[in-house]
């Protein structure tokens, strides 16, 4: 397993090995799946969308629909405008979405298709009540995370307006999460009596119940009316500094809705911060149900601490997810020895270092994001670090499983993508509920490891 990864550290600046990110368009596609009645459309060669649908389907085990401009060599030379026009016509004819969300690819970006201009041409051809929006998502810049917020902003760019009358709601930008997380965020906002519009929301679109009926546009997703109304929100809240700050900024710039961005509510402290933000908005007491669940979480944390304390963990994945898990692990007394993301992020390393300082971690920990200049912050690098100084636990997606097996380290799967397990997308990692779930998963992983790896005489009946 990964037999050729040497222990001796190697300098790299060009070759990425086992990346910890993927490209913008798939992020745009996922964001678009969080809008009700939306068909995502990839403006490029049909291979892109085939890969993206495969990628998301592997994670969600649910239908992921998206169309393509199906560039051939000719389109690549002469421009993809006519492909897009044909595509849009066929899409509305055949699949009848309410809205088409177009994102670009490295192909259409490299040839320089002007989507703004194309959409100016196309929009008047649409039927009443049908929409088309776009986002530029060049694969050679940033990562899937950038694609995600670019598409969120694309929706707002085309749809959100400020009518001058407040709708009294909170605009919530939840970042890239699983449907189970989106459900949990909505549950918390509802419990906190905060009226909200959340963009996007894949609860009900990528985790549809099996009922014997398939429909292309399921019940879930942010509605077009809601996206329009974002401009009338009282304030906005972004969660995830890397992924949501741009949307908070965009809505402010376009519609003068002021807002703030906080980390993903992963772990107790960040969830407290989220609840406080909601309380600030609602100006109401925190209900007993929320407080009770928080107390359950604290109880678990106190009770399990000795199984997590000073355990070293490597966390990899998307920047806001990694920061969230890092906070949660620190709250459990763990040492987040290596935290990496392949997504270039201006805030990641600073956020991580602040957390290490906050918890007074003495041990040298590496917190590293890729940069535009050197993108080799990848799983090969992480594996090399681990070979030189091991960890007790891995937290991240499926692509770390070979490291886990090669080094015999338990892996708690979380984040994106998890393509070798089922059920995960239904359950949250955010909120107190999500933290409880993660505490259980982390302690079980460590305790299972102890049970199976200790000497027979050290097997404990009670733990």
């Amino acid at each position: 397993m990964l037999n050729y990864t040497p222990k001796e550290m190697v300098e790299r600046e060009a070759l990425v090995i086992n990346p910890c990110k993927t490209c913008q368009p798939v992020g745009a596609l996922y964001a678009a799946l969080g809008v009700h009645g939306c068909l995502p459309h990839s403006h490029g060669s049909q291979g892109c969308v085939a890969f993206h649908r495969m990628y998301l389907t592997r994670h969600f085990k649910d239908p992921i629909q998206a169309s393509s401009s199906s560039f051939t060599e000719g389109a690549s030379v002469f421009g993809g405008g006519s492909n897009l026009k044909t595509a849009v016509k066929n899409i509305f004819d055949l699949y009848d979405p309410d809205i088409v969300a177009v994102h670009t690819t490295c192909l259409s970006e490299t040839i320089g298709d002007d989507l703004n201009a194309l959409l100016i041409d196309i929009t008047p051809t649409l039927s009443e009540g049908k929409y088309i929006v776009h986002a530029n998502t060049p694969s050679y810049f940033g990562s899937h995370i950038h694609g995600f917020f670019n598409m969120v902003n694309g929706f707002m760019k085309y749809l959100s307006v400020s009518t001058g009358t407040s709708n009294g709601k909170l605009a919530l930008f939840p970042g890239w999460l699983n449907p189970g997380d989106y459900r949990e965020l909505k549950r918390l906002m509802t419990q906190m009596n905060v009226p909200f519009i959340m963009l996007p929301d894949t609860d009900g679109t990528v985790d549809t119940p099996t009922t014997g009926e398939y429909t292309m546009y399921e019940k879930g997703g942010t509605t077009i009316e809601e996206i329009k109304s974002l401009g009338d929100c009282k304030s906005s809240l972004g969660i995830g500094l890397t992924i949501s700050a741009p949307s908070v900024g965009f809505l402010d710039k376009k519609c003068k809705v002021k807002g703030d961005t906080i980390p993903y509510p992963i772990g107790i402290d960040a969830t407290d911060a989220f609840i406080l933000k909601l309380q600030e908005f609602s100006a109401e007491e925190v209900p007993a149900s929320v407080e009770n669940q928080r107390g359950h979480l604290v109880d678990m944390m106190v009770d399990t601490h000795q199984y997590t304390y000073e355990k070293k963990v490597a966390i990899y994945g998307d920047p806001d997810f990694v920061i969230g898990m890092m906070a949660l692990c620190l709250e459990l007394g763990m040492i987040p020895k290596y935290c990496i993301t392949g997504t270039p992020s201006l805030t990641f390393e600073q956020e991580g270092k602040s957390l290490l300082e906050k918890y007074g971690v003495k041990e040298e920990c590496k917190v590293q994001a890729a940069t535009q200049l050197n993108t080799t912050t990848d799983l090969f690098l992480l594996h090399q670090w681990i070979k030189n100084d091991a960890v007790d636990l891995l937290i991240g997606g499926t692509h770390g499983k070979h490291i886990a097996r090669a080094e015999d380290i338990p892996l708690v799967r979380a984040g994106f993508d998890v393509i070798d397990r089922y059920c995960h997308s239904y359950f949250p990692v955010v909120g107190y509920e999500g933290a409880m779930r993660m505490v259980e998963k982390i302690t079980n992983a460590l305790m299972d490891y102890q049970d199976s790896h200790c000497e027979e005489k050290d097997v404990e009946m009670v733990m």
Binding site: Y4, V26, S45, N90, Y95, Y140
Partner: protein, 542 residues
């Protein structure tokens, strides 16, 4: 009214706009023994239509090169394309030793130059060179491939020059460039050609390890999904036949170099690989026969054809022994699966040959196929090689290179069998010597053929035909299952397999019975959905 055949085809397609209808009706037909059954294939998909097709890069890097264990493949382009083909499509691989030579296995590694905006603007050659240096420093591979993705072709990075540079810079390194940008051609098939061309050009014929057994073959177009290729090798080895190289499933650069030294090519897949068999026939004088190791009867027929080719009584006797033994091992199981599957129907839509091959395995299990289609086939894959001369090459395909092959001056050897025996073989109806007759002959009248079956047609045909199972890929699997119908991924075997030969057939039977009979299906409808129950109770209660 239950429609079928062309009536059904027309009913489904009539929902299209006129323009789309005109296009799609050439791709969809119902088998009619009286008609020509000419189909349109290997042409571009209409923009906006939700196709399951992939791209040239997917065919080149994902399918053909990906499985080669000792081949370090650097994808030159932005990160995505490399990321999505990481780990291959379940082409199983492992490090091996042969001829005293070790072949590493790099399939767990994903290498990319991860081009950034400046590389697009100012060119990516420098970064690619650096990446090759870094890869050589860490892995010291014997073969290194460069695969380009969309932007590379547009900005004009000369990856072939860089490959040449690498071959010179690192003596002993076989570095090959593949210009397999995603926009080339109309499907993965273009990528297969591009990959195969380079394999013929650079690799085959460069080795000199002669086969050690009396009878030897290559297996072309077998990609070792779920271990399929290993199972075929196990059976051939039992018969006393050596596999010199697969292309490319179980194989590696080390072995592929010696492929020209085998006696015979077995062709398991279709168009993109029988083209390779043709080139090897022209260059080295090797015959090929079409085989199919999917299905018990198909496997028996294929092994017997190999026996017939070699025309050796001892070999033929051994082959019969192996067949008898393997069949015996699975007899009870197959009987059981047949009892559970008899009379059930299937639809199959996969990339290449499987849409044909699996029909034979389903027949073994008492099932029939009501719809089949290929994702990236050419006309001959449906209609047989006799139509090749009639196929028009359109603008999208004509830029895909066709190698000009001439007989190798040192290695050409057409006399592997006698002319008399060749004549006998050509006359033998059970053997497809240097020929493939397409999918049609194995399909029943009235069954639907759909090339480039798209999402809309999938939904509509399945609603109408109500097969018990739809074999396809991950992108449509869950659409079908939400509607309460079993769908099994025949691209990836749903992470099971192997399904080849005898034991594989039984394993397939097992997995199909599992999928159809698992209790979960019986719970799809909530019991309170039986409205009568509620009303009755309401009546009683209120």
């Amino acid at each position: 009214m239950v429609l079928h055949g062309n009536e059904l085809r027309d009913k489904v397609l009539e929902k299209y706009s006129a323009k789309v209808y005109r296009n799609r009706k050439q791709h969809v037909l119902s088998i009619d023994p009286e008609a020509s059954n000419e189909i349109t294939a290997n042409v571009r998909t209409i923009p906006g239509i939700i196709t399951q097709r992939g791209c040239c890069y997917a065919g080149c890097k994902g399918v053909v090169l990906g499985p080669m264990s000792d081949n370090a493949i650097i994808v030159h382009g932005p990160i995505g394309c490399s990321f999505y083909t990481w780990g291959t499509r379940r082409h199983k691989q492992v490090e091996t030793d042969r001829h005293g030579e070790h072949a590493d296995c790099y399939v767990e590694y994903c290498f990319s130059t991860d081009m950034q905006e400046p590389n697009i603007v100012f060119g990516g050659e420098k970064k690619l060179k650096k990446a090759i240096e870094e890869c050589m420093a860490i892995y010291k591979p014997k073969m290194l491939s460069i695969c380009s993705t969309c932007p590379v072709g547009l900005i004009g990075d000369d990856i072939h020059a860089i490959a040449k540079w690498a071959r010179e810079e690192y003596p002993g390194l076989m570095c090959i460039a593949f210009s397999c940008e995603g926009y080339k051609g109309v499907t993965q098939s273009a990528g297969h050609h591009i990959a195969s061309n380079q394999i013929i050009r650079f690799i085959v014929g460069t080795g000199d390890h002669k086969p050690q057994k009396k009878f030897s073959v290559n297996i072309l177009g077998e990609y070792n999904i779920g271990g399929d290729g290993w199972e075929i090798e196990r059976i051939l080895n039992r018969c006393g036949i050596e596999v010199v190289s697969a292309m490319t499933g179980t194989s590696c650069y080390r072995d592929m170099k010696n492929a020209h030294l085998a006696d015979l090519n077995l062709v398991q897949c279709h168009r993109s690989i029988n083209y390779v068999a043709d080139m090897m026939k022209d260059k080295y004088g090797m015959d090929w026969i079409k085989v199919n190791f999917i299905g018990v009867n198909a496997t028996k027929k294929s092994i017997r054809a190999i026996g017939a080719y070699f025309n050796d009584p001892e070999l033929s006797a051994r082959i019969e022994e192996v067949i008898a033994d393997e069949e015996n091992t699975i007899a009870d199981e197959m009987e059981y699966y047949k009892s559970k599957l008899k009379g059930k129907t299937a639809a199959i839509y996969v990339g290449g040959s499987r849409s044909h091959h699996y029909q034979l395995l389903l027949q073994d299990l008492g099932m029939s196929t009501v719809l089949a289609g290929y994702e990236f086939a050419h006309r001959d894959d449906y209609e047989g090689r006799r139509v090749i001369p009639d196929i028009k090459v359109d603008a999208d395909s004509k830029n895909i290179e066709n190698l000009k092959i001439e007989a190798d001056e040192n290695l050409y050897n057409p006399d592997r069998i006698t002319p008399e025996h060749r004549a006998e073989l050509e006359a033998n109806e059970d053997i497809d010597l240097n020929d493939y007759q397409g999918m049609y002959p194995d399909m029943e009248e009235g069954s639907i053929i759909a090339d480039d079956l798209n999402h809309f047609e999938t939904e509509e045909f399945l609603k109408a035909l109500k097969p018990d199972v739809f074999f396809s890929g991950i992108k449509d699997k869950f659409v079908v299952q939400k509607a309460g119908m079993l769908s099994r991924q025949i691209h990836s075997y749903d992470y099971q397999g192997p399904y080849t030969c005898f034991q594989g057939a039984a394993r397939f039977g097992h997995d199909l019975v599992m999928g159809l009979y698992v209790p979960a299906w019986s719970f799809i409808k909530a019991p309170w959905k039986n409205q009568a129950t509620l009303v009755g109770k309401l009546g009683g209660e209120v």
